[in-house]
């Protein structure tokens, strides 16, 4: 079955440095694409390409149908309604739609209907110490613009959010609680229920960064209890250039847009504009139509595999990688060490090799044909919390094999010798 899946990904058959087979373990950065996605994009351009949401000719009808069918596929993957899925250029842009929407509401855009999103002096925005920069900076800057205060939930030495003081961090001054569904460094899956329960008590909006979970495990917006959720196509076997924002319909319909332009409006005069309901109010200007179609194909591909199967496959790989590197002398595994089978960890293993810089580690792995991520993975505050500047991260996906995971561990075992730092 895994062989069948791998056969869907043409890139995996190529060789790299000096003819070595590719061991691709950088899927948390970006995933490879199956034929189903590549073909969907190509076929759109070959047979259906036209401007969407306008025009009365056949091609326009077909293009719009394909565009909206993709919306239905993505909605279905996460248990959402179609009209709650907004296309954005990526997940970062999706977070900015919400953050900038709040900023615009604060400056009066959207009028009384949007007044519920206004931030006032004394309001607080809460994030966590384990956020990707994409789910930190928009909130940090929103706070700076509006006079709100940014607070954060700290993490412990193994990267788990410390929820003991949650009630004193998320108070009735909290307007927004933004947090990741899973860490892109430790792989720890967040206890969403505890956070949303507290947010509900204090009436805060919740924004969930689901970039690392939608591609790897079942995600259902009807049970998560959050208000907004963002995802990225290119991490879920889809194309670059497109992401999606999900939000509760009653919120999306009154959140002011922040990119203004054509296709978003009910009426326009020289001085005023009224907007359509969601999702169109947020989709100004030409959309990345072929990429959207590709994202729909990716959602369909994942649904067909079954997200429970995907999660089980990657949980196994997670154990192989994490238990493997935990045995290596001079290698520090970030995140929980030691096996707690109850703890949910994605197929991610980020490590620090003592006395060897992550770039140098990555170079040795690269020479063995193994592609990993080196650096801070857009999580400088978390790396600072761990008292390190950078790390080396391996991450799995539907096409990753146990041999790939073992190759990572085996190659990592040679690094300290190569640099002459082994005891």
């Amino acid at each position: 079955m895994l062989a069948d899946v791998r056969a869907d990904f043409p890139l995996l058959t190529r060789t790299v440095r000096e003819g070595k087979p590719l061991v691709y373990l950088d899927s948390a950065a970006t995933s490879q694409k199956p034929h189903a996605v590549l073909n969907a994009e190509a076929e759109f351009y070959q047979f259906h390409n036209a401007a969407v949401q306008r025009g009365a000719h056949l091609l326009a009808e077909e293009a719009t149908a394909a565009f909206e069918a993709a919306r239905a596929e993505v909605a279905s993957l996460v248990g959402a309604s179609e009209n709650e899925i907004v296309w954005t250029e990526n997940a970062t842009a999706a977070i900015n739609v919400v953050a900038n929407g709040l900023a615009n509401a604060t400056s009066g855009i959207g009028g009384e209907a949007s007044a519920r999103f206004r931030l006032r002096d004394g309001d607080e925005i809460v994030v966590t110490q384990t956020e990707h920069h994409a789910n930190l900076i928009p909130w940090q800057q929103l706070a700076a613009r509006t006079g709100a205060t940014l607070r954060w939930i700290p993490v412990d030495d193994e990267g788990r959010m410390i929820l003991d003081d949650l009630a004193s961090i998320v108070t009735d001054r909290c307007k927004v609680l933004a947090f990741t569904h899973a860490s892109n460094v430790t792989g720890i899956i967040t206890d969403v229920a505890s956070l949303t329960a507290r947010a509900r008590e204090v009436g805060a909006y919740t924004v969930l960064d689901a970039c690392q979970t939608v591609p790897h495990m079942p995600v259902d917006v009807t049970t998560l209890g959050v208000d907004f959720l963002v995802m990225s196509a290119h991490k879920m076997l889809g194309p670059t250039g497109v992401g999606a924002l999900w939000g509760r319909k009653e919120l999306l319909d009154v959140l002011p847009p922040s990119t203004f332009g054509g296709s978003t409006i009910k009426t326009v005069t020289m001085t005023e504009t009224t907007w359509l309901d969601a999702p169109l109010r947020f989709e100004a200007g030409s959309q990345p139509v072929a990429q959207v179609v590709g994202m729909g194909a990716a959602a369909r591909y994942l649904s067909a595999l079954g997200m429970d199967n995907v999660a089980a496959h990657e949980r196994h790989l997670s154990r192989v990688m994490r238990e493997g590197v935990a045995q290596l002398p001079g290698v520090r595994l970030l995140g929980p060490v030691g096996s707690n089978p109850e703890e949910n960890i994605l197929g991610i293993a980020a490590v620090v090799v003592e006395d060897v810089h992550a770039h140098d580690v990555g170079q040795v792995l690269d020479a063995a044909g193994i592609a990993v991520r080196v650096g801070h993975h857009c999580t400088q505050p978390l790396h600072r919390r761990f008292e390190i500047a950078s790390s080396t991260r391996a991450s799995a996906h539907v096409y990753t094999t146990e041999d790939d995971a073992r190759a990572f561990v085996d190659s990592l075992a040679t690094v300290r010798d190569f640099f002459g730092v082994a005891a």
Binding site: R17, H359, A367, A389, F418, F419
Partner: protein, 154 residues
């Protein structure tokens, strides 16, 4: 020799370990310039300080943390340019940049003579992502000299 071994030649490993010129020094009562450079992809950083006396680079010291390539490169730089004239330093900087752009090929004999130990970095030129590591200290050097000139003019 594999590409990996060509990149991490012993001379590079030695420089990375020893770190010649590491530890910022007060160059004394002469013109001073300092530059802080960060590699944004990995957070590596180097702070490099030069002392210029007339036409001569009398002191080059640095502080920083990073990968073996960036650390070795700034160590080699210290050995090469401390005590040199500004003109000679410019020639060495230009030759090193040229070596980085040579895609793993060597330079002509005259330039290699100029670069001495730094010719060991030839293998880095095959890896575009690592060229920035190797150039980090050199960018700091170039900028520090500009700062020193400003210091002198003011």
């Amino acid at each position: 020799m594999s590409n990996l071994e060509q990149m991490y030649q012993q001379v590079i490993m030695d420089h990375a370990r020893v770190g010649h010129g590491k530890g910022l020094k007060d160059p004394g009562l002469i013109t001073m310039g300092e530059s802080h450079q960060v590699n944004t992809t990995c957070g590596d950083e180097v702070r490099l300080r030069v002392g210029v006396d007339g036409n001569r680079l009398t002191s080059v010291s640095w502080e920083g943390q990073g990968c073996s390539i960036s650390q070795a490169s700034v160590s080699v730089l210290h050995e090469l340019v401390e005590g040199e004239t500004l003109e000679e330093t410019e020639r060495i900087i230009d030759a090193f940049r040229e070596l980085m752009q040579a895609k793993g090929e060597g330079l002509d004999e005259e330039k290699e003579d100029l670069l001495q130990d730094a010719t060991a970095f030839v293998g880095v030129g095959k890896y575009p992502a690592r060229i920035k590591c190797a150039l980090l200290g050199w960018m700091a050097l170039k900028d520090a000299i500009i700062q020193a000139r400003k210091d002198n003019a003011s």
